[in-house]
């Protein structure tokens, strides 16, 4: 079925801490369809980040399968994963992860640099992405000349610029105050309305309230998976 963007089957991930094995994910199965807006919730240590890293192809599972757009990515070698990250995935981090010495525009251009896009097209598309998140007038600013909310919006623009099939955000408002958080969530809502598939990790209920579906993790397993009425963005 082409409408399924993400399909994970019995996914596990264990870490070795010296002699001790930590089971961060203990068999998770999940399907996410095009244009879904999913929040992943759960207490600290429940495996949310581990799952996001797997979904984002930053990490590979210990066992289980991960299909992204009908392609099995769980057993892919390094460079193939880099390609998938580049083309299919837009990642937004809690700590923004912008390059401090590069301007907003240069930061947004980075995924296109690795995609081998020409300089001219890179600039045009990055401008457009920054305009989409409302930062058309801040392109030449460096991260330290921007507020937290603006930095996160640059990060969102960077995640969007390659037109990924899925936007992943791990606690995107974790470092922001509530007013800026609301700004950033409005951007997500807008992108969702424009057709973007979104997965957001959060432990805050009012952030999760923006999503149409909430998956709750507990001890590395799915505790609940429920659809909900989406709150209307102000």
């Amino acid at each position: 079925m082409t409408d399924v963007v993400i399909q994970i089957v019995n996914l596990t991930r264990e870490y070795l801490m010296g002699a001790e094995r930590v089971q961060a994910l203990r068999g998770v199965s999940l399907e996410i369809r095009r244009n879904e807006y999913v929040a992943i919730m759960g207490p600290s240590g429940s495996g949310k980040s581990t799952m996001m890293n797997l979904l984002g192809c930053l990490d590979t599972p210990s066992t289980g399968e991960y299909w992204l757009n009908g392609q099995e990515v769980s057993r892919m070698p390094d460079d193939a994963l880099a390609r998938v990250r580049n083309k299919e995935i837009g990642f937004v981090f809690q700590t923004f992860n912008l390059l401090p010495r590069a301007s907003a525009l240069q930061n947004v251009e980075l995924p296109l640099v690795y995609a081998g896009t020409s300089a001219r097209e890179r600039r045009d598309r990055s401008r457009h992405a920054l305009e989409r998140v409302g930062l058309g007038n801040r392109m030449d600013h460096r991260p330290n000349e921007l507020s937290g909310g603006q930095r996160q919006r640059v990060a969102i623009a960077r995640a969007l610029v390659n037109e990924p099939s899925i936007l992943l955000a791990d606690e995107p408002t974790g470092n922001l105050d509530s007013a800026t958080s609301a700004d950033v969530m409005r951007v997500f809502d807008l992108l969702h309305r424009q057709g973007q598939t979104i997965v957001v990790v959060t432990h805050e209920a009012d952030i999760a309230a923006h999503a149409e579906r909430v998956v709750t993790l507990r001890d590395g397993r799915i505790a609940s998976d429920a659809r909900q009425e989406k709150v209307q963005a102000a």
């Binding site: 990642f91 390059l99 390659n162």
Partner: protein, 413 residues
């Protein structure tokens, strides 16, 4: 990762961390500076020695018969020196014997020189080189005249007290006056100035224009030629081949005249331009042989410094590497980024080294009598070495960076 991007990034890093960059460049910089400066000076010396020194002092296709060699740049042992001093001097008879018997066509000039005081135009000058020569000398030395003329064969034969003076003597003794026809007193006797030679310039800082030439048989001979002996007998031939032939002939003639047995060594010297260069060739050969070693040492040190700087950069920028990987950078993108960065740093060092090396060569040229000529190939070698050292030094740090796990890298602070 596009090349231009990586170079630009490297230059930005260099610029933002000026002091650190400077130290990281130092090794390569010193190596390349040294390379360029030494090559420039040696090269300059080569050109100078061949074009100026040998041909000006000895003359084109010319050799001199002497008691001992006059250009000694190799090491001369005490024993050699004692042997030279035991040799008989060259006398007038030797000169006329060679001149009469030599079959190769040639121009000849006897010559004796000394330094003495001169008086003219109410001025006096000490320590001026005086030399008595035959008319052929002007041809042998290829002298041009800025005023007047050389002395003629007749004047020479008659031993008239006439003189040709160098440009320095003319300017010093006759400032603003035409010296032709004026008289210069040497050893109490007046000599009439016939001509002034064009300016010859300097050689290793010594003027080539402070001389007075008079006919060999003029009264000046008594001052210049001590005890009836000659300093040098000049022989010039029309071509190199004929010169080699004449050298062989002259050697044979001198051995006959001195009645040397086959087992005996020559007790005279035949000085050619090439012979005058042999000492210098030895010195420059040693310099060129030592150069690669010295340059290699500083480049190896420079490479190690750059490698450490790059290792530091990789650990300081672990998070940046994580970000790039998360956004789709492949291993080879990260590898290329750091290798290019390392090569750029090193090439900047080499470029500064080239500029400093050329500068140093010109400072040496301006402040010492040593000449300098920048060899274009040495600049090419400098640039190549810069890129090469940087790439080699960058490979290990870059490969460490490229192998970082994205999640671990992203967590780094």
């Amino acid at each position: 990762m596009p090349f231009v991007e990586a170079v630009r990034m490297a230059l930005t890093t260099l610029w933002t961390q000026k002091l650190k960059s400077f130290f990281s460049l130092l090794g390569v910089l010193i190596g390349v500076t040294f390379l360029i400066a030494v090559v420039s000076i040696v090269q300059g010396m080569n050109v100078y020695m061949e074009n100026e020194f040998a041909n000006r002092l000895v003359g084109l296709n010319t050799f001199q018969v002497r008691r001992m060699p006059n250009f000694n740049m190799g090491n001369i042992t005490d024993e050699m020196w004692r042997e030279w001093l035991r040799r008989p001097r060259i006398n007038y008879g030797d000169a006329s014997f060679i001149q009469a018997k030599l079959e190769t066509p040639a121009i000849f000039s006897r010559s004796c020189d000394d330094r003495t005081q001169i008086v003219a135009n109410g001025k006096s000058a000490k320590d001026i080189r005086i030399e008595v020569v035959d008319p052929g000398y002007f041809t042998i030395k290829n002298y041009d005249f800025s005023a007047g003329r050389p002395f003629t064969a007749q004047e020479a034969r008659a031993g008239l007290p006439v003189a040709v003076i160098g440009n320095d003597v003319a300017e010093k003794m006759f400032p603003g006056i035409d010296p032709i026809g004026k008289s210069i007193a040497i050893g109490g006797l007046p000599y009439r100035v016939l001509g002034v030679t064009t300016k010859q310039g300097t050689l290793f800082g010594m003027s080539l224009d402070a001389f007075i030439l008079a006919p060999f048989d003029s009264p000046l001979k008594r001052i210049a030629c001590r005890l009836g002996y000659m300093d040098e007998f000049h022989v010039q031939t029309p071509s190199v081949n004929q010169m080699n032939q004449a050298v062989g002939e002259t050697e044979g003639l001198m051995r006959i005249r001195r009645q040397l047995r086959p087992a005996q060594d020559n007790n005279f010297a035949i000085q050619t331009a090439e012979g005058a260069l042999s000492g210098w060739k030895k010195i420059s050969g040693v310099l060129f042989a030592a150069l690669p070693g010295l340059v290699a040492i500083s480049l190896v040190v420079g490479g190690i410094v750059i490698m450490n700087i790059m290792l530091m950069a990789v650990s300081e920028r672990t998070r940046e590497i994580g970000i790039r990987k998360a956004l789709g950078a492949k291993r080879r993108d990260i590898l290329a980024q750091f290798v290019i960065e390392s090569a750029t740093i090193s090439t900047v060092g080499a470029a500064i080294g080239i500029v400093l090396g050329i500068g140093l060569a010109f400072v040496v040229k301006a402040t010492t009598p040593l000449p300098a000529a920048v060899a274009p190939w040495s600049i090419g070698v400098g640039v190549f070495l810069g890129i090469f050292v940087g790439m080699v030094a960058g490979v290990y740090p870059a490969s460490r960076a490229s192998k970082l796990d994205p999640i671990t890298a992203l967590r780094a602070e």
